[in-house]
Amino acid sequence: MVDFDVVSLPETDHVAEGDTAPDFTRPLVNDEYWEDRALADAVDGPTLLLFHPMDGAFQGTYLYNTVDDHGWAADVDVLGVSISTPYAHKRLLADRGDGVRVFSDPGAGVIEEYGLAHDIDGMTGVTESRPAVFLLDADRTVEYAWVADEHPAFPDAEAIDDAVADLVD
């Protein structure tokens, strides 16, 4: 571990296990095009919904490498969300995140509704997302939730493996 204190983030009233993941419509980007899509329409089975900092930050790169390494997209639908534009998502998906689709939420309205807003020091006017993981069943009930309470923080891939296995089996 690092020998200095990581930054603790304030408590947040975020979407939690047992909640129904709030519906929203945003452009949903795949490796070929993007179109407006409602979460309720995109979720038709077990779904891993991953909120992450803007594309290009190493946290997102690391996250999608982890998605690929663990093969989650083979077991469940994997949907990302960040404040980046559809053009940035296309570049991200060209390199990693095989089979993943990513919502674009530049105004961070969805991120705020999920209780994940994070104002980044030194980037005035930018509202970011905390890293967060929500595993949903087919009716958008949250079966597993993790939201960063420190900055930086990374989701626990083994815990997600277990949650996916529990839901899919």
């Binding site: 070929e32 993007w34 179109e35 407006d36």
Partner: protein, 86 residues
């Protein structure tokens, strides 16, 4: 939510695409927009559905018609859904 029958493949701020949108709106037709990249080489999805990489292109599931070129599309929409159309 039922899916619109017409899918429009478009490029952001492409005037030929906006021309088709204007016609769709004039005829009060439901459609969904699929945005693609400016780079021709990145438009494989358009090539796959229409045979060419040019936008705009539409797919009309109501009639089974797929079509490129804005002038053709506008003529098709007016002829099919406009007053006096089939």
């Amino acid at each position: 939510m039922s899916e619109p029958q017409i899918t429009l493949y478009r490029l952001q701020a492409c005037p030929f695409c906006e021309r088709v949108v204007r016609t769709l709106n004039e005829l009060d037709l439901e459609y969904r927009s699929r945005y693609v990249e400016p780079m021709h080489s990145e438009r494989n999805v358009v090539k796959r559905v229409s045979g060419a990489r040019s936008v705009p292109a539409i797919v009309d599931r109501e009639t089974g018609v797929t079509m490129s070129e804005s002038a053709n599309i506008v003529e098709y929409l007016n002829g099919t859904y406009g007053e006096g159309g089939a």
